[in-house]
Symmetry: C2
Subunit: 318 residues, 2 copies
């Protein structure tokens, strides 16, 4: 089983409006709701790839209840060769799971995003989570991803703690966050961190991706996989550095492309694939997400076509 | 008891953001939730004025559950001379109560409004509502207000039916809606309709308020109270016509001013006040809502000061 952690899970609402005009009143033409937060998105991609996956983190209030019921509906048994299940291992919290609202302007195709703050997590709830997390790791996890922002009340060093627990349990661990939680998490020596160029520059103070990735690696990560938008990805490891991209630039919606890249890296980590193959999988899944007609989903035929066409180049010898 | 009907009730969310930028991502600084839809707003004002009030309409799904729990929290017994209770007489519906999201730009103070469509109401649910409505009227209602838009599935002639039922029960009835539901409702001869200038022009085809109000009256309303924004209100009845305004133009937030005006007219109708007194109450409540620091609430000291200062002028003899 692969595990993803989403401490600040969300109920993601998408509103379609003909044209968003600030300070005007709009009738929303179409509303959709789905479980959100980076780790839940990663789990959805992993399940679609056929990996048994569990999600943990916090869920509470009426919005948490809706999130869990949508997750249960997704997990209903499908066709024998269809997607694998996502197991709900979320921990109850007294506060209310946050909502995010993405307002899609049907005229321009652009999205305006409104993200509520998360529920306040008490020290007791954080301890309960830690116990549940240790039990999941002890139950046998092939790889774990720690994803996204921290809700109020969770210690800023939370990811460092979770990385250390995973290393104690000998479980490969990927960290995908930003700012101070990333800085602290790095010091606990995760197997992979996956910042984007901006997050990487934010913690290292350098804009040049290869130098910044090496700087992040020196701060403790075994490997740094930096997503560079349309320029693909850069991977820096102790065995050398690689860059990878699809053969041509793709038009589409980048929502969720980073989460699909995490799913690619994490599944490759779980399977013990060589680094270039993990990177190719991440880039192909990311591209198949940009090209998907549904924001945040990946298009399976595009993935199948893309995977063999991804160009992986060695940037540096070890 | 006074009754308000909100067929398309809503859970109103208010998001405060420092500055709304289309197509950007925003952290919401503050989230508030409250029961919404015109009739629920009217009931809140009536309760604050000390009138025992009940609300009916539809509520369903998780959002309906939150709406009803907020209503119950509001209805908790307060101090002996405090606001009266709002009784929850909402009818369950299988669909999900809509949300509205008001995004307040803290920089400009302006609000961008996103209104979800309502739940689909089945013919059986509509019949259940009609039975509940008749029972409420039979239980003794001093006045009833029919407020807002119709959710999908409710017949466009719904308000005409509800006006007729109120007249059969000899209950004074006020109608506050727009478009075709208003046009149909007028023909059933409500005691008062309260359109704004735009709604009035929409159904009568004339922009001049007095002529338009007279035209709406000829279509069936006993009285037409038109809200003219900062110009106050115009009232056309079989006993003559009046206009009223506060002595000076007010700066503030007009959200909910129309609903407060309905509460003023309706409470005056319930108490059998003379027309000019009903109009003065509506105008003073409306002004006290514009001046309130909390959007959609009315400021009680402002109301107490405003009421004696409202200037009511006779426009036409009967």
């Amino acid at each position: 089983m692969i595990l993803t952690v989403t401490l600040n899970a969300a109920l993601d609402l998408t509103y379609r409006v003909p044209h968003l005009v600030p300070h005007a009143s709009h009738r929303v033409r179409e509303v959709s709701e789905r479980p959100g937060g980076k780790g839940l998105n990663v789990a959805r991609v992993l399940a679609a790839l056929g990996f048994e996956t569990a999600v943990t983190g916090f869920a509470g209030g009426e919005t948490g209840r809706v999130l869990r019921s949508l997750l249960a509906a997704d997990a209903a048994p499908g066709p024998p060769n269809g997607p694998a299940r996502v197991t709900d291992a979320l921990v109850p919290v007294s506060g209310r799971t946050r909502r995010t609202v993405g307002v899609v302007d049907e005229n321009s195709g652009d999205t305006t995003q409104l993200n509520e703050p998360g529920p306040h997590v008490t020290p007791e709830e954080w301890e309960t989570f830690l116990t549940a997390y240790r039990e999941l790791l002890d139950g046998g996890v092939r790889a774990v991803a720690l994803c996204g922002s921290l809700p109020p009340g969770v210690p800023v060093g939370a990811y460092a703690t979770l990385v250390r627990e995973a290393r104690t349990a000998q479980t490969p661990v990927l960290l995908d966050t930003s700012g101070e939680p990333l800085r602290r998490g790095l010091a606990a020596r995760p197997d992979i961190v996956k910042p984007n160029a901006e997050e990487l520059a934010g913690i290292t103070g350098t804009e040049e991706p290869l130098r910044a990735a090496r700087a992040a690696q020196r701060r403790g990560a075994h490997a740094v996989a930096a997503s560079l938008g349309a320029d693909g990805m850069l991977l820096v490891t102790q065995d050398g550095a690689w860059s990878a991209a699809v053969p041509e630039r793709l038009a589409g919606n980048p929502t969720g492309a980073g989460d699909s890249a995490v799913a690619g890296l994490l599944s490759g980590l779980a399977e013990g694939l060589p680094w270039p193959d993990r990177l190719a999988r991440a880039v192909a899944l990311s591209a198949a997400t940009v090209r998907s007609p549904v924001a945040g989903e990946f298009d399976e035929p595009t993935y199948a076509t893309m995977l063999p066409s991804v160009r992986v180049r060695r940037s540096e010898a070890p």
